[in-house]
């Protein structure tokens, strides 16, 4: 087991190196750089720019050096926590992301919990009552949630929340707390605003999740070991949880690898509509304005979280399913 985890962690290194090369190539691909689009923007606004200043800035940030040298500088910087400098915000990248990352993680965390709390009971009910009215009804509701555009739902919810509860529109905290240090009152305010994005983002994921829980559980319910458990006199619900449900969890744990990256990139559109202080909008903006270090660091963070997520699900799977660790490595 230990050696399995160790091996999996070592495998991460080449993966991350490849990812960084890919990300760097990608952000270098569009013609021009940030300064070029900056100059264009200023000229479009009718202002004049001193070309010498631009030249100086280019040299300052190493834009005159060959591409591989800049890659090494960027990649080695990341190793010590220096993600580069955001031209747009005129701040180090870590400062730009830092604040927002916290809110993003809160929103996503509650969204995932919300999805699970809704999807698992409904999925289990649907599978055990296959083709019943309850199954059809709940599936219909779930699909409705999937089909409704998120931004529309966001607007409606925002309106309703303001009408009924007087919650301020947009953002994750009431305006008076923006920039304030953390306090109990601010925390309550965050909770008041949190439920709208959680429901809006959650509904879309829930329907897909219900279908997957249902399908996986149905497959398992037909297996002979379920009959074995019944023949032993195991009470229905206990048997359901201990055998088929646990088997059907495999897919879901394998899914964790996919969930982590959405922690920082998920639901950008909703975030913009609700003007949430999360990372999604920043990523979109950074990509638009060729703010390359900000965008690159973002993409790198996504890659890193994917790799970590896959690692976590692999380890969890190995713990949950003894066949994975003990049987691996057989080839023909």
């Amino acid at each position: 087991m230990i050696s399995y985890i160790f091996k999996r962690i070592l495998y991460m290194i080449p993966t991350l190196v490849l990812t960084s090369i890919l990300v760097f190539t990608l952000i270098e691909l569009p013609p021009g750089d940030y300064f070029e689009s900056y100059v264009n923007e200023l000229q479009a606004a009718g202002e004049t720019v001193d070309p010498k200043l631009i030249e100086y800035l280019r040299a300052e940030y190493g834009f005159d050096k060959p591409i591989w040298e800049r890659y090494i500088q960027w990649a080695s910087g990341m190793l010590v926590g220096d993600f580069g400098y955001s031209f747009e915000y005129e701040l180090p990248v870590s400062d730009v992301i830092g604040d927002r990352l916290f809110f993003t993680i809160i929103v996503t965390f509650f969204t995932i919990i919300f999805t699970w709390l809704i999807a698992f009971p409904i999925g289990i009910y649907s599978a055990t009552h296959q083709y019943s009215w309850g199954d059809y009804g709940l599936t219909f509701l779930g699909l409705l949630g999937l089909a409704t555009p998120n931004f529309l739902l966001a607007l409606i919810m925002m309106f309703l929340a303001n009408e009924w509860f007087g919650t301020t529109i947009g953002g994750l905290v009431a305006p008076e707390f923006v920039g304030e240090p953390f306090s109990w009152a601010k925390f309550v305010s965050v909770l008041e605003h949190l439920w709208i994005p959680v429901i809006v983002i959650g509904t879309s994921g829930t329907a897909a999740m219900i279908r997957r829980v249902r399908a996986n559980l149905l497959d398992e319910l037909r297996k002979p070991y379920v009959t074995t458990a019944r023949a032993k006199g195991v009470p229905e619900f206990k048997g359901l949880m201990k055998y088929p449900f646990r088997m059907s969890l495999n897919f879901f744990i394998a899914d964790i690898g996919g969930i982590l990256p959405t922690v920082i990139s998920g639901a950008e559109i909703v975030a913009i509509v609700l003007s949430l202080e999360t990372t999604g909008p920043i990523l979109i903006q950074a990509l638009q304005s060729q703010d390359m270090y900000l965008a690159g660091s973002f993409l790198m963070l996504l890659g890193f979280l994917t790799v970590i997520g896959v690692l976590i699900s692999d380890i969890a799977l190995a713990i949950l399913d003894p066949r994975i660790c003990l049987q691996g490595g057989v080839s023909r």
Binding site: Y225, T227, G233, R246, D321, P322, Q327, G329
Partner: protein, 636 residues
């Protein structure tokens, strides 16, 4: 009070299944009874409703099944209460949960899927104990290890911690039996408990069940299609056909004086070892039997293989064939340590023209791998396969291009599973014309007459050409598979367990068909099977494989009358005969698996001085033995 001679009494039980268009009556008024400590066998072919009866008793029927009528009276000897009608209880009645696993438990057919792959053996075995008796974890574990020892786990403490996939099929089934017995139930329902096991393991498991049944005085309700198993296990027999009891009675009556025509036909359809030369199996529907023989005779000339002329020597010669599979132990950077599994180890044999060689062995013995190597479907590690052609012996393994294509015509295969070996998206017409098209012999249109003759040859009606495989029964599909194999006029036919997926009655028809075809067409064939009785019925000579090695090869008569190798002997002694005068000798069946060669005599084991060698003990009779051993040692 409730003292009765009957532990379980089923009266006029009726069960139906809801399907899309109405209902199907699966059990139509079945009655029988089981006395305490008695072994009752319910016999019937698949689809006869025998498993449904078993599931009704525990009320674990699928959700679309309904008990429409009748009573299932369970008279628990542990209580003084009157018999309780299990069929009349509410599905959520607490008493049902007490009975399941506590008073009546179940042993299932497929030990791999009947156990959860995610839980340890110990966890699953002790579950019933914890549910039905309040025990501490320590007590439960002690009891579990005790019962695991009883069912033959060599190391119960370790077995408790193991997962099902780490165990062999035999040990898994022992764990399932331990699970059924741990609460000391009044009755065990065994649903085809040995069908998925090899014949030697089957004999061990049957012996174990018999022993434990006597020890605990547990009643057993045994569900099976195998009359051989019944003869060795049961006190009473109930024969079920289409959900109705055809005949019921004690062993003597059933086996010596069968009354019902269905039972008589069933008995005649089973191949057995005392069959005379040329004796035919009687299939359940005998009417079309003679007709089919006549048809085959009439059409035979057309499908005969191209005449080889007078050939000298064997038709197929396999020499020192070896196949290794390697498993990587998945080390870092590169290959790491490599584990080699030798699937086929130095196998040599010959088949003469027109002869049928039977290849027998347990699962994993490498017999199917041998057939794939001959077909050139797998790459051979070393050795040679030669086929006698007009140019003398040709090494098949060196063929390529046009020559390989020509070879493919000469060798055809009939597969085990008639359900997955036919493409469900092709009509029978397409399936049968495909060989002609692939080999560019004929266009699909021009070969129409050939296809019509082919389908008649295998005893099917020409109007089935436009149908898809799913609309045929297992036996009919196997006939289509045979027709496809014959389309190219092959010289050599490899049959890989062609009847093991079929019911006994259908098996008889297919075996008769294969035998007729072989004789009329002059086919040379290699017949692979784990069933010795089937091989005995079709083969001229028999080769026995064990762990990739060919341990004995001799004529049919020699193998059965005078086996030399200990593995052949154990294989022969483990076959259950449907004959009350030839019961299995459970006392002498070894508890270790026969795959382990430890208890073989020294003459059959390789030593430091000498390896193993095929030694001639008689005319055409060879045994794999230590090359230093004396003939007298081998014959002993």
């Amino acid at each position: 009070m409730g003292v009765s001679s009957k532990l379980l009494e089923v009266k006029d039980l009726r069960v139906s299944f809801d399907i899309q268009k109405g209902t199907i009556d699966a059990v139509k008024g079945v009655s029988f009874s089981v006395a305490p400590g008695e072994v009752v066998a319910i016999v019937g072919k698949s689809g006869s409703g025998k498993s449904v009866i078993a599931q009704s008793i525990l009320r674990i029927l699928p959700r679309n099944a309904n008990i429409d009528g009748g009573e299932i009276l369970f008279n628990d000897p542990a209580t003084d209460a009157n018999a309780i009608n299990l069929a009349g209880l509410d599905a959520k009645d607490q008493y049902l949960y007490e009975v399941r696993g506590g008073r009546i438990s179940m042993v299932f057919q497929e030990p791999m899927t009947a156990l959860s792959p995610l839980h340890t053996i110990g966890n699953q075995v002790e579950e019933a104990l914890i549910l039905h008796h309040t025990k501490t974890a320590k007590e439960a574990r002690d009891d579990t290890e005790k019962i695991l020892r009883l069912v033959g786990f060599p190391n119960p403490a370790r077995g408790y911690e193991m997962y099902p996939f780490e165990l062999s099929g035999g040990l898994r089934q022992r764990a399932v039996i331990a699970m059924a017995l741990i609460c000391n139930p009044a009755m065990v329902i065994a649903d085809e408990p040995t069908t998925a096991l090899d014949v030697t393991v089957q004999a061990q498991i049957l012996g174990l069940m018999k022993e434990l049944q006597k020890k605990f005085n547990t009643a057993i309700l045994m569900i099976t299609h195998d009359l051989g198993v019944v003869a060795n296990m049961a006190d009473k027999v109930v024969v079920v056909y289409h959900g109705e009891v055809m005949e019921a009675g004690n062993m003597e009556d059933i086996f010596r004086r069968p009354q019902h025509p269905y039972l008589k036909a069933l008995m005649a359809a089973i191949p057995h070892f005392d069959m005379k030369e040329g004796e035919r199996l009687v299939s359940l529907r005998d009417s079309d039997n003679d007709k089919s023989t006549a048809t085959i005779h009439k059409l035979a000339a057309k499908f005969k293989a191209d005449d080889l002329g007078e050939i000298t020597g064997p038709h197929l010669k396999v020499e020192n064939l070896r196949k290794e599979f390697s498993t990587n132990k998945g080390s870092w950077f590169g290959a790491g340590e490599e584990n080699k599994i030798i699937a086929v180890d130095n196998v040599s044999f010959e088949i003469n023209k027109g002869e049928c060689l039977g290849l027998v062995g347990e699962s994993g013995s490498g017999k199917t791998t041998v057939s794939k190597l001959i077909m050139k479907a797998l790459a051979t590690t070393s050795g040679s396969v030669s086929l006698n052609t007009s140019n003398g012996m040709t090494n098949v393994l060196e063929l390529s291009g046009q020559e390989l294509m020509a070879f493919r015509r000469k060798v055809q295969m009939i597969f085990q599973d008639p359900f997955s070996s036919l493409n469900p998206r092709m009509t029978v017409q397409n399936i049968l014309s495909e060989p002609y098209v692939i080999h560019g012999l004929n266009t699909a249109k021009k070969c129409q007459q050939d296809i019509l003759d082919l389908i008649k040859l295998v005893g099917l009606n020409p109007n089935c050409l436009n149908r898809y495989p799913h609309s045929f029964s297992g036996g009919q599909r196997q006939r289509i598979g045979i027709a496809r194999a014959l389309a190219l006029h092959p010289e050599l036919m490899i049959c890989d367990e062609p009847v093991s997926a079929l019911d006994v009655s259908v098996q008889a028809q297919i075996l008769n068909l294969l035998n007729d075809l072989r004789k009329e067409l002059g086919l040379t064939s290699l017949f692979i099977s784990h069933n010795l009785a089937v091989v005995n019925y079709v083969a001229d000579r028999i080769a026995v494989m064990c762990q990739g090695k060919l341990v004995e090869i001799a004529s049919r008569e020699q193998i059965f009358a005078n086996p030399h190798h200990p593995y052949t002997k154990s294989l022969l002694s483990a076959v259950p005969y449907p004959d009350l005068d030839r019961l299995l000798d459970f006392e002498n069946i070894k508890y270790t698996s026969s795959m382990e060669a430890d208890d073989w005599g020294s003459a059959f084991k390789a030593s430091q001085q000498a390896g193993l060698e095929s030694i001639r003990v008689d005319e055409g009779h060879f045994v794999l033995a230590n090359s230093n051993s004396e003939l007298s040692e081998i014959r002993a």
